[in-house]
Symmetry: C2
Subunit: 756 residues, 2 copies
């Protein structure tokens, strides 16, 4: 393509900006349906107990109550993201396994009556001993949470020869790291509206995975998937929190079927914190061998994950950690071991970064330890080891594009590395490498798109993509407009309804722009070919001489000659009787490992980044003053830089929260930080100066060279801050969050050691 | 195809039967939106007047009123179905031209306040002389309704040599016929909800033409069509009443934009009768030449149509009458003249049959006159002249299939022709020929369909077709299921939203089954081809050896070998990463006349039928006792016989109303029969024994041989009844309806003549 781009890389406002800015946008909690009832769920107050008896008579008698259900009213089918690991019932029958486990549910004419009804349900429990620590849970004699024991999953992957790698190392470091459970903190609580009507079910859910939800929900209800329609409600953000079937959706569906009216279940803020999926807390033992020149030669990572009471995305997160534990740098000898352990804690799920923020905290903290031991500048150490485009990853996957070195250089430069203005300042840097373009969790990572050009010149674009607040709608509109040569305001995109859009896996793994963008390019190209045939006829030239831009079709080499696309379309429709449409399809070319110990190709592309931090630590109080954070990210071509920067800035804020503020406070299984006073997230006024740098290493496989940027912005923040704290005060924090108390104590411990 | 059919021709219940039967289906008047306001229209109380001044201050001050608009608030763009004939403003500025003409509108928080506000708007009119008779309107010195005079349109078509034809005739008959204005009487009043949100407009309308409405509405509002989305509301029946842009939709849109909230305007029952589009009343002078053996040799038809105050479908109706005036029989010499005349009456629009019921009343009444004069049995006369498949119509269009003779034979046989049981009985027969498969009014008569096979084996079918109560959804589901080889309950159809479906002209001209059915066949075939590739791979055979039925794929000649389609799809998605979809497109091959006097190919196919009636007339009172009506219809292959029969039975009832009950009573421009007491339609208890006979002359171009059946069921009823009355009592009625008073007077007149 020699023609410059019209819309790709342009800072256009989002198509949905106006309705969001004016408050006209309707989110899930705004949806009201005639006759809608309000559902509430009765949850276990105990972390581990046998259910002896549930008495619902009184609740059923309360005026305004339309239905009360228990496990007896459900088909009793266990579900989970990975069907082979299914261990959760929508309403538990025999046992409860965490505080908040679903036991019964009601639907009533208003929220208050529904809550009152919950209080009238009497459950007799036989309390069982509980276990809250994964290491304790693995011990013999520990309370057995599920029948098959507390080892939920064990995963091993290996490549190269780690033993040999360690033998060749002049320095071997082995450290232990801990990361904390955190909450997504979407401003809109999770929820759904379910409506059984005639013989079919429609569910409105602010989900990231409408099609997968449809199939999983049908499975859990024991009905045919063709009876279920999922309509994706508008949402402000997902961050992984809306990436699975939730008991709510099953319960609301059963209530609606029983009553014949729409039933809404919406989390309270307390439920958002207390019983919702969380970021898996990790214990990481990281062992790295390095040669004297800083070349990394071997790595072993052992990860123990508190799975909580049930399976959700733990297995998939482990798969991602197995990859990301050695993804940044040229290491050929890698061994990964992951252990997913049941406890009586609330259970985890997907969360932006998908294990990578946890493992990268360890890796990039340790890189600075290595730099310090080898007396190599941390930037230089990273630069020496960084992967490059064309390298083969330790998994033998080809790296099609890689801007890691550029990110390191630009981030370091922008933070003023290595110069400190004040003596008590600290500088820190950390890298991120993140797989993108979708993962074949389901051995399916394809996408389809249809383009329909209407007689008015407007373009209807059908995509299976999910808009979850990230701007997928706008990116795909810009991609379609560019490829088709129309203006973005001519394109209407249709998303988010399983009855209307092609099958899709959903929005996760930074896959949307890459996978769907490619399908949209193909569909637009297909439609354009048809369009050009008619245009060529009207302009009396050959179709191959044509190009389209901004709603017009031009003849190459004849500047004056052009025709409006709508004119061409009108002739096609109304004189030739022919509609103009296009179809596009993208499927990645990944291969699968034959041996479960092998890695195989897991992702089609990789995004990279480097975060650099400048901060001061108050030695008296332990308080961190973040002065500046720079985030340089290689996201491939930025389809819309303002949206890409928005993604990075949002992730940075979330990453700062993960680093120094956020932790779910859980005592004996009870999450007591169930509000925004006890669970602190940074607000705008807590944030430092933040600078984003886009490093656009175009990916040959990406649409217009784009990769993805949804997740990486969060990943490198914690280690960059940890490294800067160390740089400032010589104290290294191995467990997250690095809050004031922890730093204060570490400083005191350091002084005591010095005094000793 | 040697394989027998699984679903085509089967009496399956409609996919939407359950939700309609249980009352769960939501029609337009059930739609409620948060903050929705109620719009009302102020209408002219005078048939013809100059608007001097409109005073809205008081109305605006009424609490609860949110907006009051007049012509000043509109873009003042004239609109009509045919843009070149546009003569109507959404709110009139200078003149009003009929009682009910739109003058101002309000939106308020409830209906009552809106009505109160209307009463507070003061309009000063200068009354002008009015004219209500088309012949009066054509006279010199008649009140001039539009600037260019009262001749709204003159149309002439001719083929062959009528002069020569008449010279060769041994009998020339010339008669005059009158037909009355009638109302559609849909049980749900017409209406819409318009909602401007951000910068775009969504309109919910129970329209038969969502895409055309979108473009026409955008035009009338002076905005880009890409800003408009039309969502077709569920409706019980259209009958042509919902086949044009209505001032309501423009007014509601302007009100909504002004206020920023959804605005609903719904006709009252009185408005349904008083100011809505009606069936055009006709004056017909029909001259037919016939040889002594009964062979028709020439025809001249002159039609004068009361257009009412504005253009709507009059021009298109005339085009259809020009064709249908000689469509049944082998006449080669035809001349048609049509005159559309403005009067100060409420204006007409489309109505089931589209002029054909009017002209066929004349033609088939006259056929019996000819039979009587030539002493040929009426059945025999029709049989001798009837067209046959392979004939060329007088327009030179090929007749691809024709079951007219079979219809005549079967209808006559079923009524017991010519045997009367009682002496005072009368038997009557009349034929219908109706063009189908869509008309190229817009030089576009194409259709598209997409088929998407989901991993659960369910099929999403996208079609531009309009479900208007006729069962298009079910027909297309059966066609898709048959062609694809899945079960109908696996198919979900997506219709009726301009943002979601391919461009389409809408549901009219009995086109849906033919045009969309063909597109669905093509899309299903395309998807099946892809499906078979994967199935062949799994079954280890050649794709050409496969066939699919009822959700399974079989191997020809190997009875035991089969595979479930969902299994094939799951392998395609989850092992090959490939979605399975198909695309189909149908465009007719009609040609256009160069000379406006010529006919050209207007329709791709033709449906036929014959109605036979047995009745008694009470000579004392003039009351008709309908004993039995038989309707034999050649609709091509009946996709779903129970639905086809339903269409015919409903049309028969409507045709009986048209024949003997219904007439809008209009005095000085005022429609005073504005309720179901003064405007009588037959109820179930008024209907005689009705028998439907399906004559399935398969059309080589139709999907599975189907043609269409939406309209013809209504067309032949009136002349069959007229002929039976004549047969019973020797009295011929030349003007509709043939009500009791009219027959009583005719009997008296006849007795007086005998006495004289």
């Amino acid at each position: 393509m020699n023609i410059s781009l019209s819309y790709i890389g342009k800072r256009l406002p989002r198509a949905d900006a106006l309705e969001k800015a004016t408050g006209e946008a309707l989110f899930l909690s705004d949806l009201k349906f005639p006759g809608m009832l309000y559902g509430k769920i009765l949850r276990s107050p105990l972390p581990h107990a046998r259910i002896i008896r549930i008495e619902t008579v009184q609740a059923k008698r309360l005026p305004g109550v339309r239905a009360v259900i228990t496990a007896e009213d459900t088909p009793g089918i266990k579900f989970s993201s990975v069907r082979e690991l299914a261990d959760k019932l929508p309403l538990e029958r025999e046992k409860v396994r965490f505080i908040g486990d679903e036991v019964a549910a009601v639907a009533a004419v208003d929220q208050e009556i529904a809550e009152e009804a919950l209080a009238l349900i009497h459950v007799d429990y036989e309390e069982l001993p509980a276990v809250f620590d994964p290491f304790e849970a693995l011990k013999e004699g520990a309370p057995r949470i599920h029948e098959n024991g507390n080892t939920a999953l064990r995963m091993e992957k290996r490549t190269g020869d780690t033993e040999k790698g360690f033998q060749e190392s002049s320095l071997i470091l082995e450290n232990e790291y801990w990361t904390q459970p955190t909450a997504h903190c979407c401003l809109e609580p999770r929820g759904c509206v379910a409506h059984w009507k005639s013989d079919s079910l429609t569910v409105w859910s602010a989900t990231q995975i409408p099609h997968v939800l449809k199939f999983d929900l049908a499975y859990a209800l024991g009905i045919s998937s063709r009876k279920v329609r999922v309509i994706q409600a508008l949402m402000g953000g997902g961050f992984g929190s809306r990436l699975c079937l939730d008991p709510k959706e099953i319960i609301a569906s059963i209530l609606s079927k029983k009553i014949g009216a729409p039933v809404r279940i919406l989390n309270t803020r307390e439920e958002e914190f207390k019983i919702s999926r969380i970021r898996y807390p990790f214990f990481i033992r990281l062992k790295t061998g390095v040669k004297s020149d800083g070349t990394l030669s071997a790595r072993e990572a052992k990860v123990v994950v508190d799975n909580g009471a049930y399976h959700e995305k733990g297995a998939a997160v482990l798969t991602n950690v197995a990859l990301t534990c050695a993804i940044h740098y040229r290491i050929r000898n890698v061994r990964f071991e992951g252990l997913l352990v049941y406890t009586n804690h609330v259970y985890g799920g997907a969360f932006r970064g998908f294990g990578n923020p946890q493992i990268t905290f360890a890796i990039e903290s340790q890189m600075d330890e290595i730099a310090s031991r080898l007396k190599i500048d941390p930037v230089e150490l990273r630069f020496r080891n960084a992967n490059e485009a064309g390298d083969r990853l330790f998994t033998e996957t080809n790296i099609p594009s890689c801007g890691l070195k550029a990110c390191i250089e630009k981030a370091a430069h922008a933070i003023g590395w290595p110069h400190k203005i004040h003596e008590d300042e600290g500088l820190g840097i950390a890298c991120v490498a993140h797989p993108g373009g979708g993962h074949r969790f389901y051995k399916f990572n394809a996408a389809e798109a249809h383009v329909e050009i209407m007689p008015g010149g407007e373009v209807n674009l059908y995509s299976g993509a999910s808009e979850i607040g990230q701007g997928a709608n706008q990116s795909l509109i810009q991609i379609c407009a560019e490829e088709l040569g129309v203006r973005p305001d001519q394109v209407k995109i249709i998303l988010s309804d399983t009855d209307l859009t092609p099958y899709d896996l959903g929005a996760f793994a930074s896959r949307t722009t890459f996978v769907h963008g490619n399908a949209v390019v193909a569909a637009a190209r297909d439609a354009k070919q048809r369009l050009f045939e008619f245009a060529a006829d009207q302009l009396e030239v050959d179709p191959s001489d044509l190009f389209a831009r901004e709603g017009k079709i031009f003849v190459r080499g004849t500047p004056g000659k052009s025709i409006d696309i709508s004119q061409v379309v009108q002739v096609a429709y109304f004189q030739k009787g022919t509609p103009i449409s296009g179809y596009g399809h993208f499927v990645d070319r990944l291969s699968f490992p034959k041996d479960p110990l092998d890695y195989g190709d897991m992702f089609p592309t990789f995004s990279y980044g480097a975060h650099a931090v400048r901060l001061r630590v108050d030695r008296e109080t332990g308080r961190i003053h973040l002065l500046k954070i720079v985030a340089a990210h290689d996201l491939g071509k930025a389809i819309n830089p303002v949206m890409a920067e928005g993604q990075i800035l949002g992730a940075l804020a979330q990453g700062i929260g993960f680093s120094i503020y956020e932790k779910l406070l859980i005592r004996e299984g009870n999450v007591w930080s169930d509000n925004f006073r006890d669970y602190v997230i940074p607000t705008a006024k807590d944030l430092p100066q933040m600078e984003t740098i886009l490093v656009e290493e175009e990916d040959p496989l990406g649409p217009f060279g784009a990769k993805g940027v949804g997740e990486p912005g969060l990943v490198a923040t914690a280690p960059a801050i940890a490294n800067a704290i160390y740089d400032a005060i010589g104290v290294r924090i191995f467990d997250l969050p690095m809050d004031q108390t922890k730093i204060f104590r570490a400083i005191r411990h350091q002084s005591q050691k010095k005094e000793d």
